[in-house]
């Protein structure tokens, strides 16, 4: 059940990046894709146990802590990529005046000719 939800989220992210017209919504789809991959790794690590990996007194059946530690780094890298992408979209808006992909294609083709 969780695997199917993760697959649907990944498909939503990929479909959003390819098919949506607005540039800022494309960046949002990238964020959805990143979060779906994080959930995939943490879920697949949680199948081996039933408790949080904090070794208080009497903790026996803990979850696998390695995917969680690696996904911490992945979340911060997602924030960095989103920040740079939004800065690029800001510059595109300041230069061309629009954030729509079709209008940008038209304006850039007219500028080249």
């Amino acid at each position: 059940m969780a695997g199917a939800i993760i697959l649907i989220l990944i498909l939503t992210g990929i479909a959003g990046v390819v098919l949506v017209d607005n540039l800022i919504k494309k960046v949002m789809s990238l964020v959805i894709l990143n979060s779906a991959i994080v959930i995939l790794f943490v879920w697949s690590g949680s199948l081996t146990g039933s408790e949080a990996p904090i070794m208080l007194a009497g903790a026996r059946d803990i979850v696998d802590p390695l995917p969680q530690a690696i996904m911490l780094t992945d979340i911060v890298i997602g924030i960095c990529v989103t920040a740079v992408a939004l800065a690029i979209v800001l510059r595109i808006y300041e230069r061309w005046g629009t954030v729509s992909r079709r209008k940008l294609e038209k304006l850039m083709n007219e500028n080249d000719d």
Partner: protein, 99 residues
Amino acid sequence: MKRILLLCLTCLLLAALAVLVLDAVVPLFRSRPANTESAGNWGAPYQLREYFSLHGVAESGALNLVAAIYLGYRAFDTLGETIVLVISVAGVLLFTGAR
């Protein structure tokens, strides 16, 4: 071209919905060692979990095993991540005209 893409995405979405329905209808029984101290079952995929639950606190001194991993056993990944953060901040400052 867009129609082929939409067709593939619809097929994958239908496959995801089929997996959802099957997962709710057919329960999966998974056997795993419940007691980590007496069960010597160190086969994959439980070997890392058993190693960390037996030796993690004593070797690094932290009760939080996730902190022990990303600052003790694998601190090099954290170093790379801080480098990525500094470079991305420099990139954002470049693109938005730092003052």
